[in-house]
Amino acid sequence: MQHDQSYTGQDFKVVGSRPKRPDGIDKVTGRARYGADMSAPGQLVALMLRSPHAHARIVKIDTSKAEKLAGVKAVLTAADLPDLTNGNAGDYATLENCMARDRALYDGHAVAAVAAIDKSTAKKALKLIKVTYEKLDHVTDVDEALKQGAPQIQPACDGNLGGRYEFGHGDCEAGLKEADVVIEKSFKTGQTHQGYIEPHACLATVGPDGSGELWVTTQGHFTYRNVCATLLGMDIAKLKVTSSEIGGGFGGKTHVWIEPVALALARKANRPVKMVMSREEVFKASGPTCASSMDVKIGAKKDGTITSAFIECRYSDGAFPGIWGMLGGMTAWACYDLKNCQSVGVDVLVNRPKVAAYRAPSAPMMAFGVESTLDMLAKELDMDPVQLRLKNVAREGTQSSYGPVYGPIGIEPTLEAVRDHPHMKAKLGPNQGRGMACGFWFNIGGQTCSDLNIGVDGTVNLTVGTIDVGGARASLSLIAAEELGISYDDVKTTIGDTNSLGHNDTTEGSRGTFSSGMATIFAAREAIEVMKSRAAQMWDIPIEAVSWENGHAVATGAEHGNLPPLSLKEIAAESPTTGGPIAGHHEVTADGSGVSFASHIVDVEVDPETGRTQVLRYTVVQDAGKAIHPDYVEGQFQGGAAQGIGWALNEEYIYGEDGCLQNPGFLDYRIPVCSDLPFIDTKILEIPNPNHPYGIRGVGETSIVPPLAAIGNAVSNAAGVRMDQVPMSPPRILKALEQA
């Protein structure tokens, strides 16, 4: 059924309140079940053998000794995973990434797997597998990989060029001629990992009839089902995937890594197989985000009008081409109304793990280049950085740098809120500096399918298929309660397994609450239609004379208006005799997700003798469209900023000369600890998305876009040196100070 998706501007009763999340108590008491918390009778433990080389031809794998070891039930290599991908390059890349075929393409690339009765047997078996490698030259740096003569990683690519995407309009060369000032600068960012607390984990079973089940930590169990079924030649309907609670994903759990291998081992051994990655495996062989290298050139008039804006950013995709350059290219200049702008995103292959999304993937790097250069321009023009941005800001009706003409958007209001925020006026001490920066993210909608079932006691089960990564069950319960006119406590929202609902796209692109919120609204409205007809039956009046108000069926008109209203509970209680269960259902490809903008302010102190940076104060201003549950909107704002602070200051994949990762653990891959962060202050703006009944925009990702640049600008103001490389680690800052 089609419904009108446009914004209604209605007043809310429960939406916008802050009740406790339904999954909270289970999570703090340890009762919640995550990926590694499920076991099955007779289960085997699976471990992966991984390449110790950055790049090597696999000459031979001898598994005979491992297979003979008592307690080993299955050994798997690429030979057990025939190519069933039917020419689909993306699926083939996934297959090759899950298990190396003729070549190991990065340090940690899986080459074989074992399932055994326990972990120590599996460990012994791994040692008995003999892999003969022929080492190949490797390259891990994004700029080195593009040079003539660099080792080629994928034979089908042109050198290591995975793709090149250009966006923009006007004529940048002509724009430079109009400019009074031109700023040109190059920047680099290190490769970072999402750093989710929960490693990848799953429990796989495949029965003799070929039907399987997978319990797994994931952001998209339907996607995992489809990909695993494709790679293993199973029917989609015969693989049931159940999502566990998720201990963080941030984009890293949008792709399969160990799951097809666990299923293949289970099928081969005819036993349940549990597979859990170690932290080292997570770093080496899941999907971090790209390292990048970029060149920026901006020209402007003396009054601050930008006449020309150019950026090229090269992204390291790991060993398989992705769409990271394209995404980055689209975001680069999106905050601004520019006559002449161009952005180029380049995907580059290197001997590093296959990159996955990380919260607004590719945008933080572009923002680092763009927003740092804008601050340099502001300094050159002796202009306030916020004023410079406001002078060039995009508004409703602006032709965006990546194509579409904007509807109502929030960048100007976030900048005005920053300009007027008390944080901007607070005093700074010695060695302290303040920076600000803006950020953009698209958000997406996508396929969604929800069920709403009303019990005889009038409580409501809402079943959705989008994974709850940040409080979505609370938000969706609020939406159902709002529509039905009942209490939040009377709604229980569950993430359904893949057999219980139609396809739902992965929770990515900040789509969970936007799309499932829309499906929930319309499922509830369908249930209301059913309840109106049941009330009409109970009253024995025509359905046309029944309306729905505040959780009650109301009889209308002179003839029936004196009937007392029937509550949802009363109608539900009679449902067994008035036609059976009451339910609503909705499936949709949710369009019009509504773009998102944020502006951040940060104060830092830089120790001039050690180069160490302490973040003192941080403020996030972001447009949420409508904050359904403000706590969890604020949580997203704070979480993105916290991750951005880590990325800006210390997090980085460090590779040795041998092309191997030197810091695959939280000791030397330094995510911020609690005491590294100040309280992150937030300000939610609500500029309604015209394409959603409640005005919702996605809120999960934009908050990681400005921090690299905001902190870069703050460090620059504190220390008097422009940092052009992220992370701005103490040795880099000290070196910059000494060279200044």
């Binding site: 050690t610 210390n650 005491s675 103490p730 040795p731």
Partner: protein
């Protein structure tokens, strides 16, 4: 792997000396169990010393110092007011190891015997003039600076273990301090560590010991650095000489935690800052 939990030092020594395979001493286990889990070691025998009563005690020595048992946790050390007052640098250094949870388990002796160049408590112990009481075939007492011989290597012979650390009596008008550099605020490993212990006479430094961590294969006792401040009232010139002596003593490596250049520079900076704190604690103005 065998796990043994003797109740006397002698029994522990017997177990360790008779074992033909690889034997390890387990105190808090905050390094050992991590290495075990990461498959970095495959012990044949693990001797847990936590059930040896004497090793869980902190005692005053007859001459006014302290004897700290090998199984005394960082948290227990931190709760001891007398040691915290006498040797704040040593206690602070030990309490920097890991998190609150780790503090409930980790020990100074474990930190020493793990023999990491970056161990936090070791430079502080060296600066304080601490000694290790070793049991084995014979008992012997060795200055802490002579225990670590290289990364992961100690001067202990097979069948030997350290049963306690002794700290000398605190001299009047003395103070100590330890500072480490980490990029984060906690839960990290020292990129550089610097400890200073000094005694004043009429506002002038009469005695001093300066030790550095994470800037060479072993923690360093830097005599030239101590000489740079002895006889001074820690004026700017003395501090500069101290920093230069510390930087000159560094033999660091370039690694994922820091560059040679960075460690050399920051070793001097931290030593200066630690010296100022120690000076103030000694009553200097």
């Amino acid at each position: 792997m065998r796990y043994e939990s003797p109740t006397t030092a002698k029994a522990a020594v017997d177990l360790l000396s008779k074992e033909k395979g690889k034997a390890y001493v387990l105190a808090g286990g905050t390094d050992l169990l991590v290495r075990l889990r990461m498959d970095m070691i495959e012990p044949d025998l693990m001797v847990d010393i936590k059930n040896i009563p004497a090793m869980n005690d902190i005692k005053k020595t007859p001459n006014g110092g302290f004897k700290i048992g090998a199984a005394v946790s960082g948290a227990k050390l931190g709760a001891n007011k007398a040691i915290s007052k006498a040797w704040p640098g040593v206690v602070e250094a030990t309490n920097l190891i890991g998190s609150d949870q780790i503090q409930g388990r980790c020990t100074m002796v474990g930190n020493l015997c793990n023999a990491s160049p970056a161990a936090d408590s070791v430079p502080a112990m060296i600066a304080a003039g601490a000694k290790a009481n070793i049991v084995g075939k014979k008992r012997r007492t060795v200055p802490v600076e002579d225990i670590v011989t290289g990364p992961g290597k100690t001067a202990l012979a097979k069948g030997e273990l350290i049963e306690a650390i002794t700290l000398p009596k605190k001299a009047p008008k003395s103070g100590d301090a330890y500072l480490r550099f980490i990029p984060r605020t906690e839960m990290d490993i020292a990129v550089v560590g610097a400890a200073v212990s000094l005694t004043l006479k009429k506002g002038v430094v009469e005695k001093a010991r300066v030790a550095l961590g994470a800037v060479a294969a072993t923690p360093l006792l830097v005599k030239e650095a101590a000489d740079a401040i002895i006889g001074t009232s820690l004026d700017d010139e003395a501090l500069e000489a101290l920093g230069a002596a510390c930087s000159a003593a560094c033999k660091p490596i370039d690694d994922k935690r820091g560059t040679v250049e960075y460690r050399v520079k920051v070793a001097g900076v931290l030593a200066q800052r630690a010296a100022k704190i120690a000076y103030e604690r000694a009553g200097g103005k």
